[in-house]
């Protein structure tokens, strides 16, 4: 019973198509909803099929993920929604989720008898729009259509909003609008509105955590073109600009490509098995362990360059950051970007945050990618703009941060070293290994702003998977590239990367960056910066961390949980968790909702985010939220909120560590409830 396409007698089959245009929903809807159900267990497959048919859906079943993927590829618009089991032989549900996120923009629901939080988190992060626990009831299945409608509406919203380009100025690109051009082939329903011209999303979501920008739909053909271009350029050298040129697809923006590239990188990373990350991460950021910079570096390189161009971030800091960020994040997930997306989603409220955390197995970017696609692309310009801002701020921040630990300027170098080491250590997929030196800071900065998601995501991925230390950094970078709305960045930062796991510093950087970005409205989430510094300070950590915070980021003070935690070097793990919770608390980090991101880039991670550091952090967190205020950072709105709210250091650390191991780190979600953790110093 691998594949059976059951055609419902009702003509509603066409209704699903019909309601593509605009938000018109046919009368019979949700009857006729085209569902693809994937489960390796024959009995479940039969039961689910029957249940879905009883809901009047049009059901296609298959017992393998690979089959499902090829079905989807053959007919991208052939299904409205996919329901997939998690545990399957060979390609499992998460991998499928990532692929779908990369290639098609279809909502995916995960399903499993395993309702363990970690696993559910993975699904969420990778962008699943829902997670059902078996045995699945009819009521649950009767409601799945909501995900389809929601997605469409989001798309439309982007289109509609694209008109308003508030931040448009920041965006360098004009409407990325991605959907229009690429989706054209897919006949994307969303495009039907094509408003695109404008905007991409004008919605500038800068502070709105939800990115609703028209998304580019990466159809199989488009993706093939993309892959061909990347291969032609060489994965290490593949930069969005060149890829875009090679692809020569009208309407596709550089941002679209950049975000997709990030995801792709994460995917590659993930599929190449990044186990090294873990080792690296642990070693602390300073050591390049994670040299995952490779992929990111290219990505970051771009962004970093941009950032660097802005002159804000000192080359060194950029490099360091990048190295750290890229290395880390990249390592973990294949494509930092996707991860970011997912992460961002997480924090932000993305409807489907599919943070592709690279949990080793797969960068679940599948889902998030979609989001990212849509969002980042549009955001990118903005994000970039933001990033620049943030970069600047970050740059300063980094500097400052570094200063704390090591001393002003030196941080950069230290960071650089770290990044370098990281890059070396890790064979970044990209092989770039060399951290994008100078770029780091910029990239870091970026992530903060726009990539918060990326950063966060990446960070998360990296952390969770590997060990994160470096990965996160990369992630953040990617995020920056992506311009994820700060929200996402926030998440990323929260990835609490490696604070616990990675060498402390390294993790921090990653964290810092991603997180900050996100949370702060600022796109530039300066927040990251702190994290980087942390690395430099690594040794100094604890004490430094805080200093850094002072610098730009008002770490402690701000209780504001706003955004992510910025760089508090506080034990990464600790911070990360806390960051999230705190951010959440603040309620609004508006932008960033970096929620959950365990930002804690708390201090110096100097590798150890260990509990001891945590202690330090706690003090920092006293306010829990380290806010990197824009004022400090200068543009960087990123608020690095280190929410250490009351996290028991040990708890945090262990949680973080655990999470990292589990790869959850991304759980930016509010799942971390740090409230229970008593922070010594943190007056919450």
């Amino acid at each position: 019973m691998n594949l059976t396409k059951e055609k419902k007698s009702m003509s509603t089959a066409s209704s699903s198509v019909g309601w593509k245009a605009g938000d018109v929903v046919p009368d019979q809807f949700p009857a006729g909803l085209r569902v693809l159900v994937v489960d390796d267990e024959p009995t479940w497959l039969m039961v689910l099929e029957k249940m879905l048919r009883n809901c009047l859906y049009e059901v296609t079943k298959c017992n393998r993920a690979e089959t499902a993927l090829s079905l989807l590829r053959e007919n991208k618009n052939g299904y409205d929604i996919v329901i997939s089991d998690v545990h399957m032989p060979e390609m499992d549900g998460f991998e499928l989720l990532e692929h779908i996120g990369l290639e098609m923009d279809v909502p995916v629901i995960m399903m499993s008898a395993d309702g363990e939080k970690n696993v559910v988190m993975k699904g969420v992060i990778r962008g699943a729009c829902d997670y059902l626990i078996k045995p699945v009831g009819m009521e649950a299945l009767k409601n799945i259509w909501q995900h389809v409608v929601r997605k469409k509406r989001n798309v439309w919203k982007h289109l509609e909003q694209s008109g308003s380009v508030e931040e448009g100025d920041r965006q360098q690109k004009q409407s990325e609008d991605v959907d229009h051009s690429s989706s054209a082939n897919a006949g994307n329903r969303r495009n039907s509105k094509k408003r695109k011209d404008e905007e991409e999303d004008a919605e500038e979501r800068d502070d709105t955590s939800t990115l609703k920008k028209p998304r580019v739909v990466w159809s199989v053909e488009l993706h093939q073109q993309f892959v061909a271009a990347v291969n032609q350029l060489g994965i290490d050298k593949a930069v969005p600009k060149k890829i875009l040129e090679l692809m020569n697809v009208p309407g596709l923006t550089r941002e679209n490509v950049a975000s997709h590239l990030q995801k792709y990188r994460l995917y590659l990373r993930r599929s190449s098995g990044v186990s090294q990350h873990q080792n690296n991460l642990n070693s602390g950021f300073i050591t390049p362990q994670e040299a995952t910079y490779g992929p990111l570096s290219s990505l970051n390189g771009l962004d970093l360059q941009t950032l660097a161009a802005t002159g804000q971030l000192p080359a060194q800091s950029l490099a360091t950051l990048q190295a750290a960020g890229i290395g880390r994040s990249v390592v973990k997930s294949r494509i930092p970007m996707p991860i970011v997306d997912q992460r961002n989603l997480f924090s932000f409220e993305f409807p489907k945050l599919r943070i592709g955390d690279g949990q080793q197995q797969q960068l679940s970017t599948g889902k998030p990618m979609n989001l990212l696609h849509g969002i980042p692309t549009t955001l990118e310009p903005k994000q970039l703009a933001n990033l620049h801002h943030s970069a600047q701020s970050l740059g300063s921040m980094n500097m400052q941060v570094n200063a704390h630990g090591s001393q002003g300027g030196q941080n950069n170098s230290s960071l650089m070293q770290i990044s370098q080491s990281q890059s070396r250590g890790q064979t970044l997929n990209e092989a770039t290994g060399n951290h994008v030196p100078t770029l780091l800071p910029s990239s870091m900065a970026q992530p903060i702003l726009s990539n918060p998601v990326v950063g966060g995501v990446l960070a998360r991925n990296g952390l969770t998977e590997n060990g994160r230390g470096t990965e996160y950094n990369l992630v953040s970078q990617s995020s920056s590239m992506l311009n994820f709305p700060l929200n996402s960045a926030a998440e990323l930062s929260n990835n609490s990367f490696p604070l616990g796991t990675s060498p402390g510093i390294s993790s921090l950087t990653s964290k810092g960056v991603p997180q900050e970005e996100v949370s702060s409205e600022i796109k530039g989430s300066v927040g990251f910066m702190p994290s980087y510094d942390i690395f430099s300070d690594l040794n100094q950590h604890k004490s430094h961390d805080w200093e850094l915070h002072n610098v730009g980021m008002t770490f402690n003070a701000s209780q504001q949980n706003n955004s992510l935690q910025s760089n508090l070097d506080i034990g990464p793990s600790v911070l990360s968790h806390q960051g999230f919770s705190s951010s959440r608390r603040t309620g609004q980090n508006s932008n960033i909702s970096a929620v959950g991101k365990p930002m804690f880039t708390a201090g110096d991670a100097s590798e150890r985010v260990n509990a001891q550091d945590v202690g330090h952090f706690n003090t920092f967190f006293a306010d829990n939220s380290v806010r990197v205020k824009s004022e400090i950072v200068s543009d960087a709105n990123c608020q690095i909120n280190i929410f250490p709210e009351q996290f028991g250091q040990e708890d945090l650390m262990s949680t973080l560590l655990k999470q990292q191991q589990q790869g959850h780190i991304a759980s930016a979600e509010n799942e971390f409830d740090f409230d229970g953790y008593p922070l010594d110093n943190m007056p919450v």
Binding site: E41, M46, A113, K134, P135
Partner: protein, 154 residues
């Protein structure tokens, strides 16, 4: 036996299976899913379960019989069996699988073998019960009656 009596027997028998924990709510769900468009749904699913389980039990026996047991593989099979049994509501089989998995994690061969025996036992028991139940249903239908599913609300 006349239809009414058969129906009553069916109801009592079904209830007892639930009471004794052989079947759980999921089985009821299956019964509710059955309708005119698919009148043999329960039988089809149950048959599939039998096939699947027997295959898995064989695989498990073989896997545990190896010199050096591959616990990951064993666990994968048990996981599948657990999923399968939960899909039709074979509660005791499912519970036996859960216990089995924890021993797999511990990589305890002896305990695993015992668990396998346990699972097999539960499986054959529930298989027997289900076959009896299905036979009853078929007799009712053959006699012109209908299976009183509505009576299952307990």
């Amino acid at each position: 036996m006349e239809v009414g009596q058969m129906q009553r027997t069916w109801v009592e028998y079904t209830k007892s299976l639930f009471m004794e924990g052989f079947l759980d709510g999921q089985f009821t769900q299956l019964q509710l899913l059955q309708d005119e468009s698919n009148p043999d749904f329960v039988v089809e699913v149950v048959s599939l379960f039998f096939e699947d389980s027997e295959r898995l039990l064989n695989d498990l026996t073989r896997a545990l019989d190896q010199q050096s047991v591959d616990f990951k593989r064993v666990d994968a099979h048990v996981h599948q069996l657990k999923g399968s049994s939960s899909s039709i509501g074979a509660q005791r089989v499912k519970n036996a699988c859960i216990a089995f998995r924890s021993f797999c994690e511990q990589q305890n061969s002896e305990a695993c073998l015992k668990c396998l025996q346990q699972v097999k036992q539960e499986y054959y028991l529930v298989k027997n019960k289900l076959e009896t139940l299905i036979r009853l249903e078929q007799q009712i239908v053959a006699a012109g009656g209908s299976v009183p599913m509505e009576e299952l609300s307990f």
